[in-house]
């Protein structure tokens, strides 16, 4: 699907598919349940994934994300619910008949076969003629830049090379849907960053829908078109990366993605476009620029990201959204500094500041008395 160029008018086609109301989902997961004995691994999950998406399932271990992926691949069959891929009900179709391929966390390369034979394995099962298999294997190995290692056995490759063989092997059959289980988990940091961009390039080039499972929120943020955060077998929020970060809908997501300061309080006033909240930890009232639409005096949490808090020695002029405290910890990170500020209620608040100047003579340090403040649109009120 190519975006029509030259037209400055935003047509529905230029919106990402998942934001279009009438768009047909490519993968539709309908009220999927999976029980292992008494344990519910996946609990009533419904999810739509659209064509050309790079969808990340993000969650800790035991959150059910891997089980969901394994059900998409066909290694587990759902206890109840349906999985529809490209219009066909796949809930109980065996893995060898699904138009889906998977890249395993352990890579699962066949140790007794060469790189070439590993990549050719899937094509040979389709019964393609030999020269066709050869051609496509060579193309795929060139794409992942491993053409020169075609005859090696997997144990003679480095971790990064093995990862690329696994990727080539899962892509060579041109699946409609590619599943990736912790694709970058076993790589070191530098290689991981390179591979992230490589994955995005390949996904863009081939136009295959990707579903990635990861526990690494940074990885999910960089890779994904959309993220689904899972916890205890349930998808707690589905959103685009920036939306997930800026507008988490509950405490779990706010704390799971990035760092956050949470203040517990009660609603004082609640109007259509503003609300005030009283927190025991904070001297002033918290003023937010959006309504909460809840009962008065409801208990809520106010989430404020560390980089959205200003820190200074001078008292701010605003009436609301400020609090004072004493710096209890400072960490200089190069590009930014992290401060931990102890409030009078002994709650610790995390604040990060970019180190914009090389040397700002008056550096904040331990035991300095400081004032913290933030804007009305910087905080998010969470009711659950």
């Amino acid at each position: 699907m190519s975006v029509s160029s030259g037209s400055p008018i935003i047509t529905p086609q230029t919106l990402p598919t998942w934001r279009q109301k009438e768009a047909e989902p490519f993968v539709r997961i309908e009220q999927i349940n999976k029980q292992f004995g008494d344990f519910t691994a996946v609990n009533d999950v419904s999810l739509d994934i659209y064509k050309n998406e790079l969808f990340c399932l993000l969650g800790g271990s035991g959150s059910g994300k891997s089980t969901l992926l394994r059900m998409l691949a066909g290694f587990e069959s759902p206890t109840s619910g349906r999985i529809i891929i490209d219009g066909v009900d796949m809930s109980h179709v065996p893995p060898w008949e699904r138009p889906v391929n998977m890249m395993f966390q352990s890579y699962a390369l066949f140790p007794h076969l060469s790189v070439e034979a590993n990549v050719a394995f899937g094509l040979k099962r389709e019964g393609l003629p030999n020269h066709e298999v050869k051609k496509r294997v060579a193309e795929m190995l060139d794409m992942v830049q491993l053409g020169h290692l075609a005859r090696r056995k997997p144990h003679m490759l480095s971790g990064g090379q093995r990862q690329r063989v696994a990727l080539a092997r899962s892509l060579v059959k041109q699946p409609k849907l590619l599943l990736l289980d912790e694709p970058l988990g076993a790589l070191d940091k530098k290689l991981r960053e390179e591979t992230q961009f490589e994955l995005m390039r390949i996904q863009d080039e081939l136009g295959i829908t990707f579903v990635v499972v990861t526990h690494d929120q940074e990885e999910a943020m960089t890779l994904a078109t959309r993220i689904g955060v899972m916890n205890n077998g349930v998808i707690v929020q589905t959103a685009e990366p920036h939306e997930m970060y800026e507008y988490p809908t509950n405490r779990f997501v706010a704390e799971f993605i990035g760092n956050v300061n949470l203040f517990d309080g009660t609603v004082v006033t609640d109007e259509r476009d503003s609300a005030t909240i009283h927190c025991a930890d904070i001297d002033s009232l918290i003023y937010v620029d959006h309504g909460i639409s809840c009962a008065p005096n409801q208990n809520v949490s106010v989430a404020i990201r560390p980089e959205k808090i200003r820190i200074s020695r001078e008292a701010p002029t605003e009436v609301n959204n400020h609090v004072s405290g004493i710096i209890s910890e400072v960490a200089y990170m190069g590009s930014q500094s992290i401060f931990k500020v102890r409030l009078s209620s002994s709650k610790e608040v995390r604040v990060t500041q970019p180190n914009a100047q090389r040397d700002s003579g008056d550096r904040l340090t331990w035991d300095d008395k400081v004032h913290l403040s933030w804007d009305a649109d910087s905080s998010v009120v969470l009711t659950s």
């Binding site: 066909g74 395993f104 390369l109 140790p111 394995f121 899937g122 099962r125």
Partner: protein, 269 residues
């Protein structure tokens, strides 16, 4: 520290002497010129020549090799199946009993195994007329039964250490269960099956007790012939024969060890 390592060396040396001195003596005496087993009369190969002219021993050796080959092969097939069931099937009724049954021959006194098989064969012959009498067939069945246990144990441990995602990956790439087995699982466990086969081969070749129970007239295995000859007095010929058997068994066992080692190295990514 030094003292410690000396003690270790001494005990290792003692162990080696204890295990191998009798065998070395046997090998040396097989090259003895003298007709008296205990008197050294100079080097000679004449007892080997004598051995190959002895029809009774040669035919017994042929019977033994044939039985060892067939029962090792049967044990490899059945043992692999048993190993699969034990490692792959989640809990099923009677799994514990089956695990016990598979490992029982490893710990059961051979006399009991031999006796119980003999009783079974006799009862079967009375009921169905098969196996008719005792001979090569009954020995093969008996040897298969106890060799199977060794193969099952080796294959089971191999399967347990095998990464199951390999099989999932193969299915994911379009392999149906049958081609999955022949293209992925079998090549992965074949070193275990092969070493199980070699082990079974040597066990069958060595066995005296069970074979004595279940063999019939005219079907004496090599160990049975040796044993009956030794009762009339050890001849240098037997020394030569024993030396050859040690050679065959050592080759098989060393091959089994090498295969298992190579496979382990191969598995490490």
């Amino acid at each position: 520290m030094k003292q410690h390592s000396l003690a270790l060396k001494l005990s290792a040396g003692f162990g080696f002497v204890f295990l191998y001195a009798p065998i070395i003596a046997l090998i040396v005496y097989s090259f003895n010129e003298s007709k008296l087993v205990t008197v050294w009369g100079g080097w000679s190969l004449k007892w080997y020549a004598e051995l190959f002219r002895n029809d009774q021993i040669m035919s017994a050796a042929w019977v033994s090799l044939k039985i060892a080959f067939i029962s090792a092969t049967l044990a490899a097939v059945l043992g692999t199946l048993a190993g699969f069931v034990l490692s792959r099937m989640r809990r099923f009724r009677g799994k514990t009993i089956m695990a016990g049954w598979v490992t029982a021959p490893l710990v059961m006194p051979e006399v009991i195994t031999g006796l119980s098989l003999l009783l079974l064969f006799v009862a079967m012959e009375n009921m169905f007329g098969w196996p008719a009498g005792r001979g090569t067939t009954t020995i093969v069945i008996a040897h298969t039964t106890f060799c199977l246990a060794y193969v099952a144990v080796v294959v089971q441990s191999r399967l347990a250490s095998m990464d199951e995602t390999l099989e999932e990956a193969a299915m994911d790439l379009g392999a149906k269960p049958v081609s999955l087995f022949f293209l992925i699982t079998l090549p992965m466990i074949s070193p275990a099956i092969l070493s199980g086969w070699l082990l079974s081969f040597t066990l069958s070749l060595d066995d005296l007790v069970i074979a004595s129970f279940v063999s019939g007239p005219g079907n004496s295995t090599l160990p049975m012939v040796i044993f009956s000859k030794v009762r009339l007095g050890v001849t240098p010929e037997i020394n030569a024969l024993a030396t050859l058997m040690i050679l065959i068994v050592s080759i098989a066992v060393i091959a089994a060890i090498v295969i298992m080692r190579r496979q382990n190295r191969f598995q490490k990514p």
